[in-house]
């Protein structure tokens, strides 16, 4: 039965904070062992949705079914089967690695012998074995993430929710961290990960794009790129900066990015013949150019479905890569 394969099913999910509608009529379905990515800028409702899915916040409207149980009704019983990794490091900085994990193991109801075996196994798997006595507060960003992951999977949850797990981690650690996530998915864990990094989004088996509390696109990254509602084009000319200025006035242009000596243009799918339009527009500006089709990427998908760039709305200073 395909219905049994759904780990998360949310219908008409909304959350209102006073005047602000943080999540708006969201429908979501996530299948077993999927790595489902939530892509969107800060403040688009990713964290709020994840918090509702694990019972931290009460939805204002809508139905949630997680692992076959209703939330919030069965939230307490579900807690044994869900793992949650918070955006901010939420273990104790003044406890050592093993003290943190021992505490969590007791809280999760593992008996002492089980706990010892499981902790040893996780410390081994997440390369923390030689630091067990080190205080969590003195670990690097990547080490903290691995410790938090170990804490979140200690009780072998069926579903793991991760809220921007790599926002404070360097690119190398981010890649390693994602390798760990795939290991978990291979073992049958379902993962829901929010992110605003394109390279991470591209690795998900499925992707939901969130914009102002609404799910505006849903599919595998390759599907989304294949069905891109727009045309990415490469404009090669001698004065790419002049071309950029000229094209800003052309309607149907969604994004302009200078890439080396070329200009990458994303045209909306509503524009009739994008190549001709650009050529004509540049010609009136006195610029001759060679226009070719470019390969679509997820950023194009994001810009096309939200009609605005991902990174303009997201202050990168807060999240150094």
């Amino acid at each position: 039965m395909p219905g049994n394969d759904l780990v998360i099913r949310a219908e008409g999910l909304s959350k209102r904070f006073g005047e602000l509608l943080a999540v708006d009529q969201l429908n979501l379905s996530v299948r077993r062992a999927e790595v489902f990515g939530f892509l969107g800028p800060n403040g688009c409702g990713k964290s709020t949705t994840i918090r509702m899915l694990c019972g931290l916040l009460l939805p204002s409207a809508g139905r949630i079914e997680v692992l076959g149980s209703q939330i919030p009704r069965d939230a307490e019983a579900l807690k044994r089967r869900i793992g949650y990794m918070t955006q901010k490091f939420s273990l104790y900085e003044d406890l050592s690695i093993s003290e943190n994990l021992e505490f969590l193991a007791a809280i999760q109801g593992l008996d002492r012998r089980q706990a010892r075996l499981r902790i040893d196994e996780l410390l081994q798997r997440y390369w923390l074995g030689d630091r067990r006595k080190q205080l969590a507060g003195t670990l690097s960003g990547g080490q903290k993430q691995r410790l938090a992951l170990a804490g979140a999977v200690l009780h072998k949850p069926d579903l793991l929710l991760l809220d921007e797990p790599t926002s404070a981690v360097d690119p190398q650690s981010r890649r390693e961290f994602w390798d760990s996530l795939f290991e978990l998915a291979d073992a049958g864990t379902t993962l829901l990960v929010s992110t605003h990094y394109m390279d991470e989004a591209e690795r998900c088996t499925r992707l939901g794009i969130l914009d102002r509390g609404r799910l505006v696109a849903d599919g595998s990254p390759s599907e989304l790129m294949a069905n891109l509602p727009g045309h990415p084009l490469l404009v090669e000319c001698h004065q790419p900066r002049l071309a950029q200025q000229a094209l800003q006035s052309l309607s149907g242009v969604l994004a302009l990015t200078q890439v080396g000596n070329a200009l990458r243009v994303l045209m909306a799918s509503t524009a009739g013949e994008p190549t001709e339009q650009i050529a004509a527009h540049l010609k009136t500006a006195g610029i001759s150019a060679r226009i070719t089709a470019a390969a679509a990427n997820l950023e194009d998908v994001f810009v096309s479905v939200t009609q605005r760039p991902l990174h303009a709305t997201q202050p990168t200073a807060d999240h150094p890569a």
Binding site: Y84, K88, D94, F103, A106
Partner: protein, 361 residues
């Protein structure tokens, strides 16, 4: 309530406490510092008030009286004056707290006893000095007719030498417990929320009451430790007696610790940050210090303040601890105070229950 979870929380709290050097130092430092401060420095018993003498009669008997009063140790006779103007100047400048004025006809007044033979001029801006003056007014004057009427005997039960520490130390146990129990528990409970640990803990099977109890239990032990420290230091430094039973004293202390912890838990459910928790704890701390009868005599307060004081746990604990330690009373004789503390604990916890929720919103 799961015992394995509870012990894990207690263990975690103790580990965190061990690493939090400042809190740890405060737990030991506050009782020691306060005991020494209140015991030695803050002495409500007035001694060595700076004073001046304006002896206008200058007879053998007047000189005798001045010497006798100087020997009482209440006064420190620093100035011998020759004019009332000098006296006023010294008082105004705050260089003396009071002055003795012996009029020219001092001898005649002594013999005829129709008018006061001695005038005490007091700096009325200081309450403590006023009470000292009243004390001096009972001083027997040599050779005054019907002087036996004047000589008032002050019978001071329980503290015949009028030693301040004996009154202060039992109350100090209450003050220190109020301060540390309420503030530290409130802060410890809010810390989890402020640092974001709560977001992670909520998604585990742990119940909020396991967390609260697990975090509060170490403080029961800390409270007993602090009380013992004050008792021990009070005995060693000031020879404060224990006239009642030690077991009953600890029982009273334990009940009071519970009341203060309940108040701390309640404060923690209202505060959003550690800073707010500290402010609120302080807000509950001040009226307790001022109204409980620790600083000022309970009987001297206006009715409204007395009613308010009845709502504060420290008021009732002071009755218990003074009764047991100084008057040798039994707990059964002091049951209203004990019942009040238990009732307070119950009420504070019930109020807290309505506010504890296992969600973020």
């Amino acid at each position: 309530m799961n015992l394995r979870r509870l012990t894990a929380i207690v263990l975690k709290e103790l580990r965190q406490l061990r690493r939090d050097r400042l809190t740890f130092a405060m737990i030991i430092g506050i009782p020691t510092l306060q005991l020494v401060l209140f015991g030695y420095a803050i002495n409500m018993d007035v001694r060595n008030l700076d004073a001046a003498v304006l002896d206008q009669s200058n007879t053998a008997r007047s000189r005798e009286l001045v010497a006798a009063m100087g020997a009482s140790q209440v006064l420190n006779l620093r100035y011998s004056l020759s004019s009332p103007a000098q006296l006023q100047e010294l008082l105004r400048q705050g260089r003396i707290s009071l002055a003795l004025v012996l009029p020219r006809d001092f001898e005649r007044r002594l013999e005829q006893a129709d008018r006061p033979a001695l005038q005490i001029v007091v700096d009325g801006s200081d309450q403590v000095v006023q009470s000292a003056a009243r004390q001096l007014a009972a001083f027997p004057l040599p050779g005054r007719a019907r002087s036996d009427v004047n000589s008032i005997e002050v019978l001071n039960l329980y503290n015949p030498q009028r030693l301040a520490p004996i009154n202060t130390v039992p109350g100090l146990i209450g003050v220190i417990l109020t301060m540390t129990m309420v503030m530290f528990t409130a802060i410890a409970l809010v810390r989890e929320r402020e640092r974001g640990n709560m977001e992670m803990l909520i998604t585990t099977p742990m119940s909020p009451w396991e967390l609260t109890l697990g975090k509060v239990l170490p403080f029961v032990a800390i409270g007993l430790l602090q009380a013992s420290l004050v008792l021990l230091l009070g005995k060693l430094l000031f020879a404060v007696p224990l006239r009642g039973s030690l077991g009953e004293l600890y029982m009273a202390i334990l009940v009071f610790i519970c009341a203060s912890l309940a108040l701390g838990v309640l404060v923690s459910t209202l505060a959003r940050s550690q800073f707010q928790a500290m402010q609120m704890a302080f807000f509950t701390f001040l009226p307790q210090i001022l109204l409980s009868g620790f600083m000022f005599p309970f009987a001297g307060m206006p009715k409204l303040a007395q009613w308010l004081a009845e709502l504060l746990p420290l008021t009732h604990f002071l009755r218990l601890v003074r009764g047991i330690m100084l008057r040798g009373a039994n707990l059964s004789e002091l049951w209203p105070a004990l019942a009040a503390l238990l009732l307070f604990t119950l009420l504070a916890l019930s109020l807290a229950v309505t506010r504890v929720r296992k969600r973020l919103d």
